[in-house]
Amino acid sequence: MTILNSKIPEDSLAEKWAKYKASAKLVNPANKKKLDIIVVGTGLAGAGAASALGELGYNVKNFCFQDTPRRAHSVAAQGGINAAKNYKNDGDSIYRLFYDMIKGGDYRAREANVYRAAEVSNDVIDHFTALGVPFARDYGGNLDNRSFGGVQVSRTFYAKGQTGQQCLLGTYSSLNRQISKGMVKMFPRREMLELVIIDGKARGIITRNLITGKIERYSAHAVVLATGGYGTIYYLSTLAVNSNPSAAWKVHKKGAFFANPSFVQIHPTSIPQLNDYQAKLTLMSESLRNDGRIWVPKKKGDKRPPNEIPEEERDYYLERRYPAFGNLVPRDVASRAAKERCDAGYGVGDTGLAVNLDFKDAIKTQGKKAIEDKYGNLFEMYETITGINPYEKPMRIYPAGHYTMGGLWVDYELMTTIQGLYAIGESNFSDHGANRLGASSLMQASGDGYFILPYTIGDYLADEIRTPRISTDLKEFEEAEKAVKERLEKLILINGKQTASSFHKRLGKIMWDYCGMTRNEKGLKKVAEKIKELKEEFWSDLKIPGELYEVNQELEKAGRVADYFELANLMVIDALNRTESCGAHFREESQTPEGEAKRDDKNFAYVAAWEYTGENKPHQLHKEKLEFEFVEVKERTYK
C-alpha cells in the first residue's frame, strides 16, 4: 500500500509557503534549457503554468483538444475571481479568505493548501492587471469588487459576466509570448489518451491527432495535467460539452489516486432544462444573487404569472431560512433549498422544476442602467435562450451539475501519487473540500499554474538535470501506443447500433437521479447496478462510423464515454463509503432535523483517495487524515 505523504511543511500556517519557497531546490538557467515539461491543458491552470515555465527557461510542450488554446473551458467562467486584496476595507484578509474556503468546503479541505491559495490570490490579480485584463473599475479608476455566496465581504474581481474569458485571453496572450520566443511549443487538436511511465516516473504521453487520427508520442522529464473537471458526467451540465475526465482517468489507471470523486458541485442558478434535445445547461452566474432575490409562491402549484403574485404571497425561502446570508448562501445550500421547494410542489414553470430569481427590487433601487452594467451580457444570454426578458420578468432557474471538487489526489507540491506527474486546476482535488465557493476556481487554477507549480516542479526537476532527453523509441512508449490503438480499434469494431452520446445521456440521467444533489444507500446501490448494465450494453451495441486515421468526432466521444462509465462507478463507491453528509455530498441518512447536512467528523474527517487495482477489481481506499490546527471545526451554519 502506498503511504499518503502530503508533504505539508511543518511551519506555522502563514510561513509554510514562504519557507517552502526559500528552501526549494533550484535549477540553474543553463540546465532548465535541457529539461522538457509536458503540460496538458490550456485553461487558466495549464496555459498559466506553460507560460510561467516558459518564462523560467524550460522547454514546454502544451496540449489541448480544442483548435486553439484560447477556447479552453475556463473561457466560459462568468462571475469573477477572488482575491484577498481588501480594497473595499471591509475586513478581508488572507486569513479570512482561507477561513471562508475551509468553512465553505465543510471542513474537508487541507488547511495548508487552502491557505497558500489565498496567499497567492493577490499576486494573481496583480499579474492579470499587468497583462491588460480589463477588470471592472470604479469612477476613481480603481478596481471594483462584488460579493459571491458564502462570504460577507466583497472580494470578487470581475469583468462583467465574462471574467473567465478575460482572464483566459490574458493568459493566452502570455502563452503566445512564450510561443513566439520558442519556449513553448503548442499542440492543439491533440487528445491525450495515455501516460507513459518509465522506471516509476511520468515521462511522456500518447495523444491522438484529432485531424489526422495519428497516434503520437511525446516525452518529457515531467508531466503536468491541467485538464479540468468532470461535471459533464451528468451529460447535461454547465460545462462546455467536450470537457471530459479522460486524461485524469487514464493516469488514475496508471497509478494516480483519485480523491473524493463523489464531491460534485451542483450550481443553484442555471437555466432549467427546456426540452429533451438539449446538449447542455446554461449557467446564470452566481453574481446575480448579489442583486436578485430567489422566491417561489407560498401557495402550492400557484400557476399565476410571477408579476401577478403579490409580495405577501411570495416565499423568499433563502432569506427566510438563512437570514444572515440570505440569497448569498453557498451553492450547495442554495441548490438543496431549491430542490426541497420544488420537490414539495412549490416549483414554478411547466415542469415545476424551477424557482424565480427576481431583479424587480434591484432595478427599482439602483435603476436599470446599473443592473445592465453589472449583468448586461447575462441578461441578454437569458433572453436569447428562453425568449423571456429578465428586466421585466423574473428569471427561472434550477440547479445543474457544475464543478468537481473531487479529482486527482496531489500532495502539497501538487504532485500525484505518480512521481513526476502533477495535477493542477480543477483536475486536482485540493482546495475546495466538499463544496467550492464562487469565484475561487479561477483563483485556484491561476494560482496553481502561475505561482505554485513553477516552484514545486523545480524542486523535482533539480534532481533530473542529469537525465538526458527521453527517447520516444523506448519500449514503454511503444507499449503505451499499442494499448491506445488497440482500445480505439476495439471501440470501432463493436459496430452496434447506438451512438456514444445516447449512452452518455442515459448515464447522465441515472447519475443525476441517484448520485446528484442528494444520495442514499438504496439509490446508490441501485445505480451501481444500472451503470454496470449500461456499460455492458455500451461495449456490445456502440456504433462509431468512420475510421481511426481521420477526423472522427464519434470516436472521440466514445472513448470519453467509456471512461465516464468507469468514473461513474467510482463516484458511487465513494458516495456509498461516505455515510456522512458534508458540503455538496448530501447523504439523506445524515441530516439535522432542519434538513441541513450533518457531518461525522469522528469517522470522516479524511480525504478518500482511491487506488485503481485492475480491471474489475475493487478500488482500494487510502485515507489522508485532515488535521485542523488553525481553525476550529464547527457546525457549518449560514443562518
Binding site: Y87, T129, L169, Y172, P545
Partner: protein, 246 residues
C-alpha cells in the same frame, strides 16, 4: 417541423466537397441550430451514414468554436449571436437551409464544416501580448485607469475569435479581429509601452498569412456575433500610421 438541409460535405482537406441534401423531419422549434445538427447526426449514424463534422464546445456563445454559413451568412441571419445560440424558431417549416464552412483562403477546410483557423493564433503570437513576467507585476491599484477608457477597452476585448468577420468579408480581411486586440492594448496604460512594435508586427503577420485588405464595406461588423465595432479598425489605422512615422 421539416427542414430541407443542403450541407457542404467534404471528406478532408484534399478532396473536393459538394452539397448534400437532407430532408429532415425530426426538427423541433425548441432546438438550437447545433442541437438540430446533433439530431441529424444521430439519425445519420443510426442509418449507417457518416455524421456531419462541425466544431463546437461551450454552446453558450463564448468560446468561439462554432461557426458556419447558414444561408450564406456567418452564424445565420440573427444579429449578434453565434451559431450555437441560433434557435430553430427562427426558421419556417419546410424551409431550405444551406450550411457551409467558412470560405476564406487563410481558413482551409479540414472536413465538412470544420476549418483551420490557426492563422488567428499566428497573428496573436506575432504581438498580441504585453511583455510582463509572472511575479513582476506591481500592485493592481498602482496604475488607475479612467473608467470610460476601461469600458471602451472592455468592449473590444470580448472578441471570441470565431472568424465570422473574415468569413463575412469579400476580401477575407482580418482587420476587425486584429484591431480589437490592438485597441484593447492601445487604450490601456499597460499596453502603451509596446504599442508601436505590436501593431506593426501584427499587421505584417496578417498580410503574410494571406488575409486581404480592408475596403470599408462593414460586413465584418454586421456579422460579428459580439458586435465588435468598426471604430476599432480606425483606431488601429491611427496606431499603425503613428508607429510608422515616429
Amino acid at each position: 417541423m421539416n427542414i430541407k438541409l443542403k450541407i457542404w460535405r467534404q471528406k478532408n482537406a484534399e478532396s473536393k466537397g459538394a452539397f448534400v441534401k437532407y430532408d429532415f423531419d425530426g426538427v423541433s422549434p425548441e432546438m438550437s441550430f447545433l442541437e438540430m445538427l446533433d439530431a441529424l447526426n444521430k439519425k445519420l449514424i443510426e442509418e449507417g451514414d457518416e455524421p456531419v463534422a462541425f466544431d463546437h464546445d461551450c454552446r453558450e456563445g463564448i468560446c468561439g468554436t462554432c461557426g458556419m454559413y447558414i444561408n450564406g451568412r456567418p452564424h445565420g441571419s440573427v444579429q449578434g449571436i453565434t451559431t450555437c445560440h441560433l434557435s430553430m424558431r427562427k426558421f419556417k417549416n419546410r424551409a431550405t437551409i444551406y450550411v457551409e464552412p467558412w470560405r476564406a483562403k487563410p481558413f482551409p477546410v479540414i472536413k465538412d464544416l470544420i476549418v483551420d483557423r490557426s492563422a488567428f493564433d499566428k497573428i496573436m503570437t506575432a504581438g498580441g501580448f504585453i511583455s510582463t513576467n509572472v511575479g513582476s507585476a506591481p500592485d493592481a491599484h498602482a496604475i488607475p485607469v479612467v473608467k470610460e477608457k476601461a469600458d471602451i477597452a472592455f468592449d473590444s476585448t470580448i472578441c471570441i475569435g470565431c472568424g465570422a468577420c473574415v468569413a463575412a468579408c469579400k476580401n477575407a480581411s482580418a482587420m476587425l479581429f486584429l484591431s480589437a486586440k490592438v485597441s484593447q492594448y492601445a487604450l490601456l496604460p499597460q499596453g502603451r509601452v509596446e504599442a508601436k512594435e505590436r501593431v506593426q508586427a501584427m499587421v505584417l503577420k496578417m498580410d503574410e498569412l494571406g488575409f486581404g485588405n480592408c475596403t470599408n464595406t462593414g460586413a465584418c461588423e454586421a456579422e460579428c456575433p459580439k458586435n465588435i465595432s468598426l471604430s476599432n479598425i480606425a483606431r488601429m489605422n491611427r496606431e499603425f500610421y503613428k508607429a510608422k512615422i515616429t
